[in-house]
Symmetry: C2
Subunit: 265 residues, 2 copies
């Protein structure tokens, strides 16, 4: 039986990664789990995010997956270092690929990172970047209102612009030439962020790199699906109708095959 790639996120944001996976790996089956009953993760503690992540991983393992992608920056920051060596299947987060791309992109060795309270507090991006290139200066700042803005569909306009200007001020002040969008919701605010930071700043959205990393691992393990069209199955722990309606923004198309399931039972 063909095994799928499992992807989990706190809610809907991880679909930006799914979109890229479908683009780069069109033959692969995908199983997505969005923890919409307990969303958001970004304001919750390390301990709780680890507990939720392990429950989500166990749920995906029951769906017969060959690899798991943690498509949530907060879960990748807090849980990945704890879980990565515990399971037989490879587990891929979104931090390392994003950090690597940013280190490659920066010319002036000044990188900005934006994310949730949890992601920024964990300093995971900073540590990953420093490991690759200790001389790089990292400026990290939390943008907690960006997630509710995206979920409410406020993707442009005066209010969002004012908040973006407020949040991104420290990045402008420190002269970064590269900024990591360290939350899967943020790519939807790219036009606003670009307008505030200017065209010369490179915005790094880790989805592309994450999908490339997953392709590489599957190829190494000789389990890349090479034929046929992949099937995609979506599970959410709450509000499948709401998920379906908002998912198009992230996925570029309406998801089919959405069901409700809890990971903590």
């Amino acid at each position: 039986m063909k095994k799928a790639i499992g992807v989990f996120d706190s809610g809907v944001g991880g679909l930006t990664v799914v979109r890229e996976l479908i683009r780069q790996l069109p033959c692969e089956d995908l199983v997505y789990f969005g923890d919409t009953a307990r969303v958001p993760y970004g304001i919750k503690s390390r301990e709780t995010v680890i507990r939720f992540s392990i429950e989500n991983i166990l749920f995906l393992l029951k769906q017969n997956v060959k690899l798991i992608c943690v498509a949530c920056n907060t879960a990748s920051s807090f849980a990945l270092p704890v879980v990565v060596n515990h399971f037989k299947v490879p587990i891929v987060g979104v931090i390392t690929p994003g950090a690597r791309e940013a280190v490659y992109a920066t010319q002036n060795k000044r990188i900005g990172v934006i994310g949730t309270h949890g992601t920024i507090k964990s300093r995971t991006y900073e540590n990953e970047i420093k490991q690759l290139e200790p001389s790089i200066k990292v400026t990290a700042t939390a943008c907690p209102l960006f997630v509710p803005f995206v979920e409410e569909g406020w993707l442009s306009g005066k209010v969002v612009m004012d908040v973006a200007r407020h949040y991104l001020e420290p990045l402008k002040a420190s002269g970064v030439d590269t900024v990591i969008l360290g939350c899967t919701h943020y790519p939807l605010l790219k036009p606003v962020i670009r307008q505030v930071l200017g065209k010369k700043v490179t915005l790094i959205d880790s989805a592309k790199q994450v999908a490339m990393e997953i392709k590489k691992i599957l190829a190494q393990d000789c389990c890349l699906a090479k034929n046929g069209k992949g099937r995609h199955k979506y599970y959410v722990s709450d509000n499948p109708e709401w998920f379906s309606s908002i998912a198009r923004r992230f996925l570029g198309e309406a998801p089919k095959n959405v069901s409700k399931a809890n990971s903590n039972v």
Copy 2:
């Protein structure tokens, strides 16, 4: 042994009710549960909010309480009608007292209701008001960004004012003279809401009426505590430090005796 009053909320907002309970019932012991691991409830489905609420009620019953207050508008809207007859202890929500006060206050028979997506979608306030006085015209609107604003401490300023103007436009247009703050976070935004709606509009914060209702029920059941100073114990399912730091805004003082506990185990 002296029995306590149990109070639960999705997070920190229910402390506005606790504050009023302490004011009106200083001799009573209180046990608070804030479900900070699964906050917010306002964006979640009826089914999920009912499940969470029942878990929270069972947790409070283990703490030996004589009455339970559902100090969350979303949980009161969705879960109260389902649970109110299942348990031996009285269960009091925040909707009926708020609706009653608003019906009393309005002169022109036009009442506005603001709340989360869940509360507004449930139409519980509207139904309660119509039951008391069918001729009243109710205008209800969701203000989903108000909760993240309050939790992030954005209680004033241009951005919050712009969002409030946007949300409250339908209430202004329909000429309401009374507005129910149908979410326990909203009393913290009273100055902003007042500035947008004008001084002539009465803002109803149900905390005072809820505490009066609880006092009445306990007196009827002859179990009012009349001596000594009440003890107050706070449980949260995540982030006790964050809870303690933000709680002062709602409670008027820093809470002592905060512990972590899960209601779903």
